[in-house]
Protein backbone atom coordinates (compact mmCIF):
# COMPACT_ATOMS: atom_id res chain seq x y z
CA UNK A 1 0.00 0.00 0.00
CA UNK A 2 1.39 3.39 -0.83
CA UNK A 3 1.38 6.35 1.49
CA UNK A 4 -1.58 8.04 -0.18
CA UNK A 5 -3.86 4.98 0.15
CA UNK A 6 -2.70 4.46 3.70
CA UNK A 7 -3.64 8.01 4.65
CA UNK A 8 -6.97 7.69 2.88
CA UNK A 9 -7.71 4.55 4.84
CA UNK A 10 -6.79 6.30 8.10
CA UNK A 11 -9.09 9.19 7.31
CA UNK A 12 -11.94 6.80 6.49
CA UNK A 13 -11.45 4.88 9.74
CA UNK A 14 -11.44 8.14 11.65
CA UNK A 15 -14.71 9.15 9.99
CA UNK A 16 -16.23 5.75 10.83
CA UNK A 17 -15.17 6.19 14.44
CA UNK A 18 -16.71 9.65 14.43
CA UNK A 19 -19.99 8.22 13.10
CA UNK A 20 -20.00 5.54 15.78
CA UNK A 21 -19.42 8.12 18.52
CA UNK A 22 -22.29 10.14 17.07
CA UNK A 23 -24.64 7.14 17.32
CA UNK A 24 -23.51 6.41 20.87
CA UNK A 25 -24.15 10.06 21.75
CA UNK A 26 -27.72 9.79 20.47
CA UNK A 27 -28.28 6.74 22.68
CA UNK A 28 -26.88 8.69 25.60
CA UNK A 29 -29.05 11.73 25.00
CA UNK A 30 -32.29 9.76 24.61
CA UNK A 31 -34.03 9.70 28.03
CA UNK A 32 -33.45 6.44 29.89
CA UNK A 33 -36.61 6.53 31.96
CA UNK A 34 -39.79 7.59 30.31
CA UNK A 35 -41.86 6.30 33.20
CA UNK A 36 -44.16 9.07 34.28
CA UNK A 37 -43.83 10.21 37.83
CA UNK A 38 -46.63 8.83 39.85
CA UNK A 39 -47.83 8.52 43.35
CA UNK A 40 -47.99 5.29 45.19
CA UNK A 41 -50.00 4.79 48.35
CA UNK A 42 -48.11 2.49 50.67
CA UNK A 43 -49.43 0.79 53.74
CA UNK A 44 -47.35 2.44 56.47
CA UNK A 45 -48.94 1.31 59.73
CA UNK A 46 -52.30 0.59 61.33
CA UNK A 47 -54.93 2.97 62.56
CA UNK A 48 -54.44 2.29 66.28
CA UNK A 49 -50.88 3.63 66.03
CA UNK A 50 -52.06 7.11 65.04
CA UNK A 51 -51.03 9.70 67.64
CA UNK A 52 -53.84 10.89 69.85
CA UNK A 53 -52.33 14.35 69.94
CA UNK A 54 -49.13 16.02 68.85
CA UNK A 55 -46.59 14.49 66.51
CA UNK A 56 -45.44 10.95 65.96
CA UNK A 57 -42.55 9.70 63.88
CA UNK A 58 -43.32 6.57 61.85
CA UNK A 59 -40.71 4.46 60.15
CA UNK A 60 -41.94 2.27 57.33
CA UNK A 61 -40.74 0.55 54.23
CA UNK A 62 -42.05 -0.31 50.80
CA UNK A 63 -40.99 -2.29 47.75
CA UNK A 64 -39.75 -0.37 44.75
CA UNK A 65 -38.60 -2.44 41.80
CA UNK A 66 -36.64 -5.17 43.52
CA UNK A 67 -35.44 -2.97 46.36
CA UNK A 68 -36.91 -2.37 49.77
CA UNK A 69 -36.84 1.28 50.64
CA UNK A 70 -36.91 2.38 54.26
CA UNK A 71 -38.32 5.79 54.91
CA UNK A 72 -40.12 7.80 57.53
CA UNK A 73 -42.73 10.48 57.96
CA UNK A 74 -44.19 12.55 60.77
CA UNK A 75 -47.88 12.11 61.51
CA UNK A 76 -49.38 15.23 63.03
CA UNK A 77 -52.73 15.52 64.75
CA UNK A 78 -53.60 18.95 63.40
CA UNK A 79 -56.78 20.97 63.74
CA UNK A 80 -58.13 19.83 60.40
CA UNK A 81 -57.26 16.20 61.10
CA UNK A 82 -54.27 13.99 60.55
CA UNK A 83 -51.53 15.16 58.22
CA UNK A 84 -48.34 13.43 57.16
CA UNK A 85 -45.18 15.53 56.80
CA UNK A 86 -42.06 14.60 54.89
CA UNK A 87 -38.95 14.86 57.11
CA UNK A 88 -36.86 16.34 54.28
CA UNK A 89 -35.84 19.93 55.04
CA UNK A 90 -36.77 22.30 52.22
CA UNK A 91 -33.40 24.03 52.54
CA UNK A 92 -30.77 21.45 51.54
CA UNK A 93 -32.53 18.22 52.23
CA UNK A 94 -31.33 17.13 55.66
CA UNK A 95 -33.77 15.16 57.80
CA UNK A 96 -35.49 17.22 60.47
CA UNK A 97 -36.24 16.00 64.01
CA UNK A 98 -39.27 16.64 66.13
CA UNK A 99 -38.35 18.45 69.34
CA UNK A 100 -41.07 17.54 71.81
CA UNK A 101 -40.09 20.14 74.41
CA UNK A 102 -39.99 23.08 72.03
CA UNK A 103 -42.87 21.77 69.96
CA UNK A 104 -40.95 22.41 66.75
CA UNK A 105 -39.24 20.52 63.96
CA UNK A 106 -35.53 21.32 64.06
CA UNK A 107 -33.10 20.79 61.23
CA UNK A 108 -29.63 19.69 62.42
CA UNK A 109 -27.83 21.12 59.40
CA UNK A 110 -28.33 24.89 59.39
CA UNK A 111 -30.83 25.38 62.15
CA UNK A 112 -34.03 25.47 60.10
CA UNK A 113 -37.16 25.54 62.33
CA UNK A 114 -40.73 24.54 61.50
CA UNK A 115 -43.86 24.57 63.60
CA UNK A 116 -46.01 21.52 64.28
CA UNK A 117 -47.79 21.77 60.91
CA UNK A 118 -44.54 22.23 58.99
CA UNK A 119 -44.61 26.00 58.49
CA UNK A 120 -41.22 27.72 58.59
CA UNK A 121 -40.61 29.69 61.78
CA UNK A 122 -36.89 30.26 61.52
CA UNK A 123 -33.63 29.58 59.74
CA UNK A 124 -32.86 29.25 56.03
CA UNK A 125 -35.64 26.93 54.72
CA UNK A 126 -37.46 28.63 51.83
CA UNK A 127 -40.67 26.56 52.04
CA UNK A 128 -42.71 24.52 54.49
CA UNK A 129 -42.23 20.78 54.96
CA UNK A 130 -43.95 18.83 52.20
CA UNK A 131 -47.29 17.31 53.08
CA UNK A 132 -47.66 13.72 51.96
CA UNK A 133 -51.08 12.37 51.02
CA UNK A 134 -52.59 10.33 53.83
CA UNK A 135 -55.50 7.94 53.64
CA UNK A 136 -57.14 5.78 56.24
CA UNK A 137 -58.97 2.74 54.92
CA UNK A 138 -60.24 -0.28 56.84
CA UNK A 139 -58.06 0.33 59.83
CA UNK A 140 -54.93 0.81 57.73
CA UNK A 141 -53.03 4.03 57.19
CA UNK A 142 -51.63 4.68 53.71
CA UNK A 143 -49.02 7.33 52.91
CA UNK A 144 -48.44 8.66 49.41
CA UNK A 145 -44.88 8.28 48.15
CA UNK A 146 -43.57 9.84 44.93
CA UNK A 147 -42.12 7.21 42.61
Amino acid sequence: MNRRDFLKRIIKSALALLGLSFLLSLIYIYPAKIKKKGMKLVHAFDEEELPRRGVKRVDFSYEYGNRTINTLAFIVMAKEGFIALSPVCSHLGCLVNWDRNKGEFLCPCHGGRYDMEGRVIGGPPPAPLTRLPLEIKEGKVFIGIKV
Binding site: S21, L24, I27, Y28, A32, L92
Partner: protein, 215 residues
Amino acid sequence: MGKIFDWIDSRFGVKEPHRRFLQRPLPEKLNYSYCLGGAAFTLFLMSVVTGLLLSIYYVPSETEAYKSVIRINEEVRLGWLVRSTHKWSANLLIIFIILHTIRVFITGSYRPPRELNWIAGVFTFIFAMASGFTGYLLPWDQKAYWATVVGTSMAGTVPFIGNALLYFVRGGPEVNGTTLIRFYSMHVLWIPVMMFIILCAHFHMVKKQGISGGL
Protein backbone atom coordinates in the same frame (compact mmCIF):
# COMPACT_ATOMS: atom_id res chain seq x y z
CA MET B 1 -16.97 10.67 -0.01
CA GLY B 2 -14.58 12.46 -2.31
CA LYS B 3 -17.43 13.68 -4.51
CA ILE B 4 -19.32 15.19 -1.59
CA PHE B 5 -16.18 16.86 -0.30
CA ASP B 6 -15.39 18.24 -3.76
CA TRP B 7 -18.93 19.59 -4.13
CA ILE B 8 -18.66 21.41 -0.82
CA ASP B 9 -15.11 22.57 -1.39
CA SER B 10 -15.79 23.96 -4.85
CA ARG B 11 -18.01 26.46 -3.03
CA PHE B 12 -16.28 26.63 0.34
CA GLY B 13 -12.73 26.73 -1.01
CA VAL B 14 -10.68 25.50 1.93
CA LYS B 15 -8.48 23.09 -0.04
CA GLU B 16 -6.77 25.43 -2.48
CA PRO B 17 -5.32 27.95 0.03
CA HIS B 18 -4.07 25.01 2.12
CA ARG B 19 -2.42 23.11 -0.70
CA ARG B 20 0.88 24.84 -0.08
CA PHE B 21 0.58 24.22 3.66
CA LEU B 22 -0.31 20.55 3.30
CA GLN B 23 2.56 19.99 0.87
CA ARG B 24 5.11 22.08 2.71
CA PRO B 25 8.59 20.72 3.28
CA LEU B 26 9.15 19.04 6.62
CA PRO B 27 12.44 18.48 8.39
CA GLU B 28 14.17 15.19 7.63
CA LYS B 29 14.27 13.75 11.08
CA LEU B 30 10.62 13.75 12.12
CA ASN B 31 9.43 10.97 14.37
CA TYR B 32 6.32 10.02 16.30
CA SER B 33 7.16 12.34 19.19
CA TYR B 34 6.08 15.15 16.83
CA CYS B 35 2.55 13.74 17.12
CA LEU B 36 2.32 14.45 20.84
CA GLY B 37 0.84 17.92 20.29
CA GLY B 38 -1.71 16.44 17.90
CA ALA B 39 -2.52 13.75 20.46
CA ALA B 40 -3.05 16.45 23.10
CA PHE B 41 -5.36 18.28 20.70
CA THR B 42 -7.35 15.09 20.07
CA LEU B 43 -7.75 14.64 23.83
CA PHE B 44 -8.85 18.25 24.14
CA LEU B 45 -11.53 17.66 21.48
CA MET B 46 -12.65 14.49 23.26
CA SER B 47 -13.04 16.30 26.55
CA VAL B 48 -15.01 19.04 24.80
CA VAL B 49 -17.42 16.57 23.17
CA THR B 50 -17.92 14.44 26.30
CA GLY B 51 -18.24 17.63 28.35
CA LEU B 52 -21.01 18.86 26.07
CA LEU B 53 -22.76 15.53 26.57
CA LEU B 54 -22.38 15.67 30.35
CA SER B 55 -23.87 19.16 30.42
CA ILE B 56 -27.14 17.67 29.14
CA TYR B 57 -27.71 15.91 32.47
CA TYR B 58 -25.53 17.76 34.98
CA VAL B 59 -27.33 20.31 37.18
CA PRO B 60 -25.02 22.95 38.70
CA SER B 61 -26.89 23.57 41.92
CA GLU B 62 -26.12 22.95 45.56
CA THR B 63 -29.05 20.59 45.99
CA GLU B 64 -28.97 18.83 42.61
CA ALA B 65 -25.31 18.56 41.55
CA TYR B 66 -24.43 15.37 43.41
CA LYS B 67 -27.73 13.68 42.60
CA SER B 68 -27.39 14.50 38.92
CA VAL B 69 -23.88 12.98 38.81
CA ILE B 70 -25.17 9.79 40.44
CA ARG B 71 -27.98 9.75 37.91
CA ILE B 72 -25.48 10.03 35.04
CA ASN B 73 -23.52 7.10 36.46
CA GLU B 74 -26.44 4.83 37.23
CA GLU B 75 -29.46 5.70 35.14
CA VAL B 76 -28.44 7.45 31.94
CA ARG B 77 -27.65 5.01 29.13
CA LEU B 78 -23.87 4.95 28.57
CA GLY B 79 -23.62 7.70 31.17
CA TRP B 80 -20.75 5.90 32.90
CA LEU B 81 -18.93 5.73 29.57
CA VAL B 82 -19.32 9.42 28.83
CA ARG B 83 -18.31 10.40 32.35
CA SER B 84 -15.23 8.16 32.42
CA THR B 85 -14.18 9.30 28.95
CA HIS B 86 -14.38 12.90 30.12
CA LYS B 87 -12.27 12.12 33.15
CA TRP B 88 -9.66 10.09 31.27
CA SER B 89 -9.30 12.50 28.38
CA ALA B 90 -8.90 15.39 30.83
CA ASN B 91 -6.17 13.61 32.78
CA LEU B 92 -4.40 12.34 29.67
CA LEU B 93 -4.57 15.86 28.22
CA ILE B 94 -2.38 17.14 31.04
CA ILE B 95 0.05 14.24 30.57
CA PHE B 96 0.26 14.71 26.81
CA ILE B 97 0.78 18.46 27.14
CA ILE B 98 3.73 17.71 29.39
CA LEU B 99 5.11 15.08 26.98
CA HIS B 100 4.65 17.50 24.07
CA THR B 101 6.46 20.20 26.02
CA ILE B 102 9.33 17.80 26.67
CA ARG B 103 9.54 17.07 22.93
CA VAL B 104 9.59 20.79 22.13
CA PHE B 105 12.25 21.29 24.77
CA ILE B 106 14.46 18.42 23.62
CA THR B 107 14.35 19.45 19.96
CA GLY B 108 15.05 23.04 21.01
CA SER B 109 11.96 24.20 19.12
CA TYR B 110 11.37 27.01 21.59
CA ARG B 111 14.22 29.02 20.04
CA PRO B 112 13.58 32.08 17.87
CA PRO B 113 11.32 32.65 16.06
CA ARG B 114 9.14 30.25 18.11
CA GLU B 115 9.42 31.86 21.57
CA LEU B 116 5.90 33.24 21.38
CA ASN B 117 4.54 29.79 20.54
CA TRP B 118 6.26 28.42 23.63
CA ILE B 119 4.49 31.13 25.63
CA ALA B 120 1.16 30.22 24.00
CA GLY B 121 1.90 26.62 24.97
CA VAL B 122 2.45 27.61 28.60
CA PHE B 123 -1.00 29.21 28.55
CA THR B 124 -2.63 26.03 27.23
CA PHE B 125 -1.06 24.24 30.17
CA ILE B 126 -2.35 26.82 32.66
CA PHE B 127 -5.86 26.59 31.16
CA ALA B 128 -5.77 22.78 31.24
CA MET B 129 -4.82 22.84 34.93
CA ALA B 130 -7.50 25.43 35.71
CA SER B 131 -10.04 23.29 33.89
CA GLY B 132 -9.04 20.29 35.98
CA PHE B 133 -9.30 22.25 39.20
CA THR B 134 -12.71 23.75 38.47
CA GLY B 135 -14.03 20.46 37.09
CA TYR B 136 -13.02 18.59 40.23
CA LEU B 137 -15.54 20.52 42.33
CA LEU B 138 -18.52 19.76 40.11
CA PRO B 139 -19.52 16.31 41.53
CA TRP B 140 -20.09 18.23 44.78
CA ASP B 141 -19.21 15.32 47.05
CA GLN B 142 -17.02 15.43 50.16
CA LYS B 143 -13.78 14.89 48.24
CA ALA B 144 -14.61 17.62 45.75
CA TYR B 145 -15.75 20.04 48.43
CA TRP B 146 -12.71 19.70 50.66
CA ALA B 147 -10.27 19.68 47.74
CA THR B 148 -11.71 23.03 46.75
CA VAL B 149 -11.64 24.36 50.30
CA VAL B 150 -7.95 23.46 50.57
CA GLY B 151 -7.07 24.51 47.02
CA THR B 152 -8.75 27.90 47.18
CA SER B 153 -7.44 28.61 50.68
CA MET B 154 -3.97 28.83 49.14
CA ALA B 155 -5.11 32.03 47.46
CA GLY B 156 -5.65 33.43 50.96
CA THR B 157 -1.96 33.12 51.80
CA VAL B 158 -0.90 35.71 49.23
CA PRO B 159 0.47 38.76 51.11
CA PHE B 160 -1.79 41.84 51.37
CA ILE B 161 -4.38 40.88 48.74
CA GLY B 162 -4.86 37.30 50.00
CA ASN B 163 -8.32 37.77 51.45
CA ALA B 164 -9.64 39.73 48.50
CA LEU B 165 -8.27 37.02 46.20
CA LEU B 166 -9.94 34.32 48.27
CA TYR B 167 -13.33 36.03 48.09
CA PHE B 168 -12.75 36.50 44.38
CA VAL B 169 -12.30 32.80 43.63
CA ARG B 170 -14.85 31.53 46.15
CA GLY B 171 -17.46 34.20 45.58
CA GLY B 172 -17.59 34.76 49.34
CA PRO B 173 -15.75 33.79 52.50
CA GLU B 174 -16.61 30.11 52.22
CA VAL B 175 -17.08 27.45 49.56
CA ASN B 176 -20.80 27.15 48.86
CA GLY B 177 -23.35 27.22 46.05
CA THR B 178 -21.93 30.49 44.73
CA THR B 179 -18.54 28.82 44.35
CA LEU B 180 -20.12 25.88 42.55
CA ILE B 181 -21.80 28.12 39.99
CA ARG B 182 -18.71 30.17 39.24
CA PHE B 183 -16.56 27.06 38.95
CA TYR B 184 -19.17 25.59 36.61
CA SER B 185 -19.21 28.70 34.47
CA MET B 186 -15.40 28.75 34.35
CA HIS B 187 -15.24 25.06 33.56
CA VAL B 188 -17.77 24.92 30.73
CA LEU B 189 -17.64 28.43 29.25
CA TRP B 190 -14.70 30.67 30.11
CA ILE B 191 -11.81 28.21 30.05
CA PRO B 192 -12.88 26.34 26.88
CA VAL B 193 -13.34 29.64 25.04
CA MET B 194 -9.92 30.88 26.16
CA MET B 195 -8.39 27.50 25.31
CA PHE B 196 -9.92 27.68 21.84
CA ILE B 197 -8.50 31.14 21.23
CA ILE B 198 -5.02 30.22 22.46
CA LEU B 199 -5.01 27.00 20.39
CA CYS B 200 -5.95 28.97 17.27
CA ALA B 201 -2.94 31.18 17.95
CA HIS B 202 -0.76 28.13 18.66
CA PHE B 203 -1.70 26.41 15.39
CA HIS B 204 -1.47 29.62 13.43
CA MET B 205 2.14 29.96 14.52
CA VAL B 206 2.92 26.30 13.80
CA LYS B 207 1.57 26.91 10.31
CA LYS B 208 3.39 30.18 9.71
CA GLN B 209 6.70 29.20 11.23
CA GLY B 210 6.72 25.59 10.10
CA ILE B 211 8.07 22.68 12.12
CA SER B 212 11.53 23.46 13.38
CA GLY B 213 14.45 21.66 11.80
CA GLY B 214 15.49 19.85 14.93
CA LEU B 215 18.85 20.01 16.61
